[in-house]
Amino acid sequence: MSEDVDALRARHLAELAAAQTLEAVEAVRVAALGRAGTVTALLRALGRMPAGERLAAAPRVQALREELSAAIEARRRTLAAEALALRLEAERMDMSLPVPPEPQGSIHPISRVMDELAEIFADLGFAVAEGPEIEDDWHNFTALNIPPEHPARAMHDTFYLAGDPPGRVLRTHTSPVQIRTMTGGRPPIRIIAPGRVYRSDSDATHTPMFHQVEGLVIDRDTHMGHLKWTLETFVKAFFGVDDVVLRLRPSFFPFTEPSVEVDVGCSWEGGRLQVGGAASWLEILGAGMVHPRVLANCGLDPAEWQGFAFGCGIDRLAMLKYGMTDLRAFFDADLRWLRHHGFRALDVPTLSGGMAP
């Protein structure tokens, strides 16, 4: 019996080692453990043995059965793994093949800057206001203390619209939104108003359509010191520079009094603009205290309410910050330019992420 067991083990293990296919392994299993298998026969023979003998033989036969089962399973796994490896080898592909291109898409620099403005000024409590681009004469001029004989109304600056009602213009600035905001609600007011504006002008630095942002703060005691702080705070955040020096120069706008032009200190190292310091000055915006007549035109008592307004070219801000040189390219939709100067969809300016992409 013991010789049978050892011999069977050796024989079947040798058969297994020789089996190169799953079918061959199965044949070994059937030969050993099948209903008519050699080991099955041994197990059956155990039942016919006297009790004493059986006690001695049974563990050895059982051990053989388990050993062969395990070996068969192991051989099966090995062969399966080898087969899989072979198949996978056959499935090999050139992983250096290029993937289909996915168009990137881009956000226009003007939209980017508008989002930056909205984000910065939201933190200072400014809402974003809007108004029509086809304006009436009163909102665009008269209410802003620009009398009918003012040269800015002349044909060479303003686009006029034909037809009814008469006196309609394409707004020449975002300032009429000031008027609409003040006539439409009560102070305190803090708004910015970005948008398209139009002037009959065209060269490398002027296009007949461009973008402005207007700012307006009306309260009981808002003064020029607040204006200066607001602009400083904005410029610091917008350009991401702490060392910002603003220079306010007296100037003239019909709708503010006193009026100022605001220069930002900068340098031109290597021909590239760097905001900060006071080596050179760059005019960036106009501002002032809202003219008492403008307040009165909007139904606000200048003795009770006062505040400041400012206006700034958005395209110009974009050019200064992002280094474009030709304004006309902003409106040409040249894909090369858009892809070069545009911003990725997920580059959203946030206070926590900063104003630089």
């Binding site: 168009p103 002349a154 200066k228 702080w229 007296p250 100037s251 100022v260």
Partner: protein, 786 residues
Amino acid sequence: MKVPLSWLRRYLETDADAAAIADALTRLGLEVEGIANPAERLAPFTIARVLTAERHPQADRLQVLTVDAGIGEAVQVVCGAPNARAGLVGVFAPPGTHVPGIDLTLKVSSIRGVESRGMMCSARELELGDDHEGIIELPEDAPVGAAYARWAGLDDPVIEVAVTPNRADCMGIFGIARDLAAARLGRLVAPEVPTLAPAFPCPVPIAIEDAEGCPAFFARALRGVRNGPSPQWLKDLLTRAGLRPVSALVDVTNYMSLGFGRPLHVYDIARLRGGLTARRARPGETLLALNGRTYALDESMCVIADEAAVHDIGGIMGGMDSGVSEETTDVLVEAAWFSPARIGATGRALGIVSDARARFERGVDPAFVGPGLDLAVAMMQALCGGEVSEAACVGAPPALDRVIRFAPETTARLSGLDVPAAEQREILARLGFAVDGDLAGDWAVRVPSWRRDVEGPADLVEEVVRLVGLDRVAAVPLPREPGVAKPVATPAQMQERRVRRALAARGLDEAVTWSFIAEAEAERFGGAAHRLVNPLSAELAVMRPSLLPGLLAAARRNMARGERSVRLFELGRRYLAEGERPTAGLLLAGDAEPRHWKTGKARPADAFDAKAAALAALAAAGAPVERLATRQPGPAWYHPGRSAELVLGKAVLAAFGELHPALAGDVGAVAAAELFLDAVPASRGKRPPYRPSPLMPVRRDFAFLVPETLPAEALLRAVAGADRALVAEVELFDRFTGPGVPEGQVSLAIGVTLQPRERTLAEADLAALAEAVEAAAAKLGAVLRG
């Protein structure tokens, strides 16, 4: 305005140099656009004497000069000037010099075989005048070898000042000196108005008919004048200020205009017929003006005319016929006050920009009409001789009788800058304001005649602050609400941001195109509701009724540059008769998918690409896209068979499709869409509670034969409606025509996902559902395929 430092110093005693003055001007609000000193530009040019002049051996018109430029040895120069001759003292430029008038840097060169080591210069080459007939001739005793510009007194910095429209008073150099003196940069030297000794009554009667356009008309005559060239000092001043000297009489009027902001006009009395009247022009009247152009005048314009003709467009430009010449002996000098508004209107109507208009339009000092006239006449008499007449004065300039009630604390209230009342009063006095009142109380501030721009307390604050210095205004933080800043974006603004980012994330590039387009373009896209009266060009003439023409033009430009795939979008307004509508436009041209080893041939953009982008953007805008219906076809500018609108109830949210081939033209297949953002209903925003079913979903497929004309959407909707509680999802996974499908029909295969919620579905449930689906489809003429 060009302000030569030497001219400014005629009215301002100061030690300050040009840089200090420019700095002070900036602080005062008189913007300095630049400082130019001709002496710096002309530094290399020296005085030289021509020693010999011989004919060039190879060229009749050239001479070979030897020149003593004061450098020891004589220099050989080839020169083409007809006046070059031995003994002439002129201006020499050595090699290496940049000659501004011809924008050329000199090199040692060979001219027709003769070496030339520099150049003898004409006035035009030095940008000192128009003369290029010959080289500059200097006096015999001019120091050879010396720097020419310095010797010629050209070392005179010229400050270019941009005067804001409100500062009429600074349209004369004297006014700028007055502001600088108030800023303590020097002492103002006011001209002494002479007492004239009239020798005869004014021989030309003057009158005003248009008192509104010309409220004051003053004049004096001068007889027996000799009108020659002005003395050099006057010529120099005018030249440096950018004017061309003409003759003494004309130069004096220009001196008064630039020096004192007081334009004048001089008539040759011999050319006048009878008296002069300030009146409206009559229909058909014309004037040959001093600039050589003839202007047609109308009844809105104020002119000065004699009995026969118009001689002056009042306050804008004089006429050629009555202008003075060298033969003139008797002149009438006019000093008037014209209405600024009318000057502006007339100037704009005629398109004339003149020094006179610039001053009258801003408003000249009404108190300086008579004094200005007398100063000018005295100066003319000094230069040209002759006798002065009595003044003829008709009308009176509107006096500026303005007193402002001013509380000095207003300054701190508006500017945030606390300036002591005493200092404020002193500043105002320095600027010529008369202040009446105690330091403690309110003041009555009388505005000087030359400051008609100062109208109220805010203007006085500006005066005080600009003299104290805006740099002293300290930044003060705006009061801040406690806590984190509140959100301020409106729903419409948020919607716009989401649409923009959704489209960019889908690979579209954002463009910004003109709001105005060509009329013919607008016509193809529904027609323009708004037309510009004065467009820059026919290409930019009407307000766009659609964003697509601009995007299509952009696509065409890009394709012409060799782009194979254009994917553009724009967020902007359409300008319709009923208003400005926020819109997102998108346009896909060229390849939607490029050719690729994985996908094969390139696939051109089609209507479904546009539909997909439109739906994605609408979803981002918050539209309930699953409830949108497709209504075919879209507007006329699309392919009639391949376009549609996306509607929600009655509201049209978007249109999409392939552009009509007639519009797309050479761009080829173009797919586009427009989203009408203000039609998108406000998103409800609330999500239903999370309630996942514990039961497995079940999927069943159905294939129907339907009439070709049946919109697939109708079938999908009908199937979804067969059991709303059970059907979670319906998808069209196959569309087939061909063998086995009858003519005029199409096979649509639909997958239905059923989501049981209460209990597992039994066979009977599934059978009932299949029956319901078939019944719903049958109503549309759909037959289940066997």
